[in-house]
């Protein structure tokens, strides 16, 4: 496993925080996904060995939680909220705009490799609906026009 030094440091710091090593599964998976973009079988086995648990215990966590993934996604991860308050405020149109701007299909890497657009369940920001997460950044009170601006920015950053 070829992990960045800061990822390894994060992993070493996470384990002793917990009374039992298995509790560190999720922090370790977060660190590795941040580093590698997804959780490979090799990574799952590495985590299992590191924590002294069976690989199946790691894989069962990876496959249960929607945020952990076993495949690569686009460079930017876009999650548009689809739950009721956002849907009432036009979340579906925002999602369609993101998809059409990148000529992408829902849940698929866009042809240029830049983005993966997904629907997410309630992002706990329903008062400023509709909202979406672009990687770690929350964008609120979206409109189709605002969605276009965000796409333009992502495209400009990709070229830079």
């Amino acid at each position: 496993m070829d992990l960045k030094p800061e990822t390894l440091a994060e992993i070493e710091a996470a384990i002793p925080k917990y009374p039992e090593a298995q509790s560190a599964v999720m922090p370790l998976l977060h660190a590795i996904q941040q580093d590698q973009g997804y959780i490979s079988n090799e990574a799952a086995e590495w985590v299992a060995e590191k924590l002294g648990i069976a690989p199946i215990n790691v894989l069962s966590v990876v496959t249960f939680y929607p945020f952990f993934r076993q495949h690569k996604i686009g460079k930017r991860h876009i999650r548009v909220c689809r739950t009721l308050s956002c849907a009432m405020a036009g979340g579906a149109k925002v999602c369609d705009k993101m998809l059409s701007e990148f000529e992408a299909e829902l849940n698929q890497v866009s042809p240029d490799g830049e983005v993966t657009v997904e629907f997410a369940e309630c992002l706990a920001s329903c008062g400023s609906a509709p909202v979406m997460l672009v990687d770690e950044d929350l964008h609120e009170n979206l409109t189709v026009e605002k969605a276009k601006e965000i796409c333009d920015k992502i495209k400009a950053e990709a070229k830079a």
């Binding site: 298995q22 929607p66 689809r82 739950t83 308050s85 309630c122 920001s125 329903c126 609906a129 770690e136």
Partner: protein, 454 residues
């Protein structure tokens, strides 16, 4: 967000003050950690008694009395006692914990440390959803600052008491908000809720040790109870509904947002504070406390007897905005996430949206929940897409009835209640779809967009 004159802010008092930051200096300038300093000079049992006397009820969903929950903790087992702050905030419609964490994290840390001292906890966790990455960073930073000043970690405020707080990030699963699912997740497993009994967290919680699970807002209130005293705290709100509550309002109102209020009616919140419906629209229904709660229909009357024997006869706007008021109207205040549906909203489409949510979020352990939620998603989805069948309404009621009360955790009710209550209150709309394959008058594109269920 600007503070509305009708609000009565306690927990969010400083959060929106101009110039107030999440850093410890801001909190200290406002008397921060004074209550922790006071707490560590008290007998732990005296703090528990004060919280009990305050009648504070949990702000996470079920509204269970906080002091009573603490008094159930098994203190004789000899095992360590854990405290977990539930910051999963996944109930659709709810966005209050986010404000506390982002704007006043030290208040939460102080509340947790007081609660930990009272309950002899040496290690506490904050379980925060993955979708709030900045929140997790802010909390990590705040804990570092608090450690530097001696409020967290070894020898808290020089008292000899030590306690550490660890921030733990979830990974986008709603069921991690359910307390035993959360515990399983924190143990590094799938978030499959545990059967109660025997797994009551107060006795068999994290690592099978006694564990307290409380919501963010609940824990913040510990600070104010010590500050005001139980009697002072009880002066806010109605008896058995003490203190303020933060209400999150979204959907069809002019000023959606979060508002912290004391005693108030639902009408004052929705019409006076939130400005009522958008121009030209009317309110059709309200989901009072997060998407799992039963829906309230505009125009209904709610009748019954008060504890003093007098009778009440309320319209939607007269309902007292608290645990008992909303329960008297046949629903629950839940997590305080209020969704307002105006006359443009198709009720079957709204239900289809929520069924897509619940079928996605079922942990899958219980067959009635796993299969039933998927089935309900399929039925509501075909309604929305113009392929309803005449038997659909009765079938939905049948399926919902097979889920409610037959599952390991309360998620089963969360699936069934919307189905049962939406059909009970808006049966015509559903029958219309079922009879004519779809509602012939409806704007099909808009309905598909609202259902948003692929």
């Amino acid at each position: 967000m600007a503070i509305h004159p009708k609000e009565q802010r306690l927990v969010l008092k400083y959060a929106d003050e101009p110039g107030y930051t999440p850093h410890i200096d801001s909190y200290l300038e406002h008397g921060g950690y004074d209550m922790l300093k006071k707490a560590v000079t008290m007998e732990p049992q005296a703090i528990i008694d004060e919280v009990k006397a305050s009648t504070l009820r949990g702000r996470g969903g079920a509204g269970f009395p906080c002091g009573l929950k603490w008094s159930f903790v098994d203190r004789k087992s000899g095992k360590p006692i854990y405290l977990i702050c539930n910051c999963d905030e996944s109930e659709p419609g709810t966005f209050k914990d986010r404000q506390i964490v982002h704007k006043d994290p030290h208040q939460l840390i102080e509340g947790m440390m007081i609660s930990c001292f009272a309950n002899n906890v040496a290690k506490a966790f904050i379980y925060i959803r993955e979708e709030m990455p900045y929140g997790a960073k802010i909390l990590d930073q705040a804990i570092l600052e608090a450690k530097e000043k001696g409020f967290v970690g070894d020898n808290v405020c020089g008292s000899g008491y030590s306690c550490d707080i660890v921030v733990h990030r979830g990974a986008a699963a709603y069921i991690c908000g359910e307390e035993t699912g959360l515990i399983e997740s924190l143990e590094g497993k799938r978030a499959n809720p545990r059967i109660k009994p025997p797994y009551f967290p107060a006795v068999l919680g994290l690592y099978n040790c006694p564990t307290i699970v409380n919501n963010v807002e609940t824990l913040c209130n510990a600070v104010h109870i010590l500050d005001m005293g139980a009697e002072g705290f009880k002066k806010i709100g109605r008896p058995n509904n003490a203190g303020t509550r933060i209400w999150c309002v979204s959907g069809g109102v002019q000023r959606p947002g979060y508002y912290e209020v004391g005693e108030m009616t639902l009408g004052e919140l929705v019409y006076d504070i939130c400005g009522g419906p958008l121009p030209g629209r009317t309110i059709k229904a309200i989901i009072p406390g997060g998407s799992s709660m039963k829906i309230l229909k505009n125009g209904e009357r709610y009748k019954g007897k008060n504890p003093d024997g007098s009778e009440y006869d309320w319209g939607l706007e007269d309902i007292p905005l608290d645990y008992d008021g909303i329960a008297a109207a046949g629903s629950m205040s839940g997590s305080g996430g209020m969704m307002v549906l105006d006359d443009t909203v198709s009720i079957p489409a709204a239900l289809a949206n929520l069924m897509a949510f619940y079928s996605h979020e079922s942990c899958g352990q219980c067959t009635p929940c796993r299969e039933g939620s998927l089935w309900l998603k399929k039925i509501t989805s075909r309604m929305v897409h113009g392929e309803a069948r005449p038997e659909d309404v009765d079938l939905m009621l049948d399926v919902a009835g097979q889920i409610a009360g037959r599952t390991i955790c309360a998620f089963g009710f969360a699936v069934a209640w919307p189905v049962q209550s939406y059909i009970a209150k808006f049966e015509d709309e559903f029958r219309e779809y079922a009879a004519h394959l779809s509602d012939p008058k409806a704007d099909r594109q808009a309905i598909k967009e609202l259902a948003c269920n692929g």
